[in-house]
């Protein structure tokens, strides 16, 4: 049995005891197209069933004959993990559940944005691609390696949607985060369409698309409020030739600053939890 089939079996079993879930983590990354190994089963649950999770899990056929062991968690109330057996190679098999993830919206909102697709031989529900990217903006470098690829996939999807319907072009521009996505939009000529670029930059929620678009918009507002750019960076983005190597370099500086800020926020959140637990 492949790990994808095992996941499908697990989700089937969870649904059989009334647990609705969304797949996140490494399997969701694989579903969206980045083929990498994972042995973790990361799921986001609704609030229902959280308190009696151990008793529901013991009803599952896939844990029959195995003593269910709950592992330690340093986010009590938000994250739980259970040892459900061992893999053929002897490694432990863990099921990990989020009820509330500090980087994400509440479950009902995530569920309303879910993507359903074939995986491991059945239809499963996954975090939407933008939500998955957000869930990976942690202080762990390995998550940012996933983000690099996921951003390319998201940009490719948004580009395809914009190719089939011009009404989607603003969204493709205002969301662009990968260099490949940017180069595709540039080659298509959409970024040099001043009214389109202006409407897109007004809709951005991240400093990265803002940095990609800024040189093409004569009179843009400030970058998204949450992320203040260095004045020298902002000033350079006003004057640099759009699409030049210098422009791409400045975008990469903005990307590094964004990553640093997100990592620091996640680390601070973990630190606050640890401090509260130790006090």
């Amino acid at each position: 049995m492949t790990s994808a089939e095992r996941l499908a079996e697990i989700v089937d079993a969870l649904e059989s005891v009334g647990l609705r879930c969304l797949v996140m983590g490494g399997h969701a990354v694989r579903y969206y197209g980045f083929e990498r190994t994972t042995i973790d089963f990361d799921l986001h649950l609704g609030a229902d069933g959280w308190d009696d999770l151990p008793s529901r899990l013991t009803q599952l056929s896939l844990t029959a004959g195995v003593e269910l062991t709950e592992g330690n968690t340093w986010r009590p109330g938000a994250f739980r993990r259970f040892l459900i057996g061992r893999l053929p190679d002897g490694r432990e098999e863990w099921l990990e559940f989020w009820r509330f993830n500090h980087l994400l919206a509440p479950f009902p909102e995530l569920y309303s944005r879910r993507e359903t697709g074939e995986y491991g031989g059945r239809k499963l529900s996954f975090l939407s691609l933008p939500d998955l990217i957000r869930s990976k903006e942690t202080d762990r470098e390995v998550d940012w390696q996933d983000i690099e690829r996921l951003e390319e996939f998201l940009d490719a999807r948004l580009f395809a949607a914009a190719m089939s319907d011009a009404a989607n072009r603003t969204n493709a521009l205002s969301s662009v985060r990968s260099r490949r996505g940017f180069e595709r939009l540039l080659a298509e000529g959409w970024i040099r369409d001043a009214p389109l670029a202006a409407s897109a930059i007004a809709a951005v929620s991240s400093p990265i698309p803002w940095a990609y678009l800024r040189p093409f918009v004569a009179d843009a507002g400030a970058p998204p409020q949450e992320f203040r750019l260095e004045p020298l960076v902002e000033q350079k983005l006003r004057t640099v030739a759009g699409g030049s190597l210098a422009h791409i370099s400045v975008v990469e500086i903005v990307r590094l600053q964004y990553k640093r800020l997100r990592k620091a926020a996640d680390a601070a959140d973990k630190q606050a939890i640890r401090a509260a637990q130790n006090s």
Partner: protein, 74 residues
């Protein structure tokens, strides 16, 4: 040719020699973090776009940044 002459002055080599980084890629990533103030100062240095884009530090930011399309498939 003496390969060791510039090792001490090269910040990436220093990170490797000190054991702070295990690989060249890791050392370069660490260096790019440390060099952000220098990179931002470069933006105001009066370099032309072409000079700025070809500056070794900026080349390194792009190399470690988001991938572009290969020239052959553009």
């Amino acid at each position: 040719m003496v390969l060791t002459s510039d090792l001490e002055s090269d910040p990436v080599c220093r990170l490797l020699l000190s054991g702070e980084a295990q690989t060249v890629a890791e050392a370069e990533k660490m260096y790019l973090e440390l060099a952000l103030p220098e990179a931002i100062a470069l933006l105001a240095s009066g370099l032309s776009d072409e000079e700025l884009g070809n500056h070794p530090l900026m080349v390194m930011y792009r190399t470690h940044g988001s991938r572009g399309w290969e020239d052959s498939i553009r």
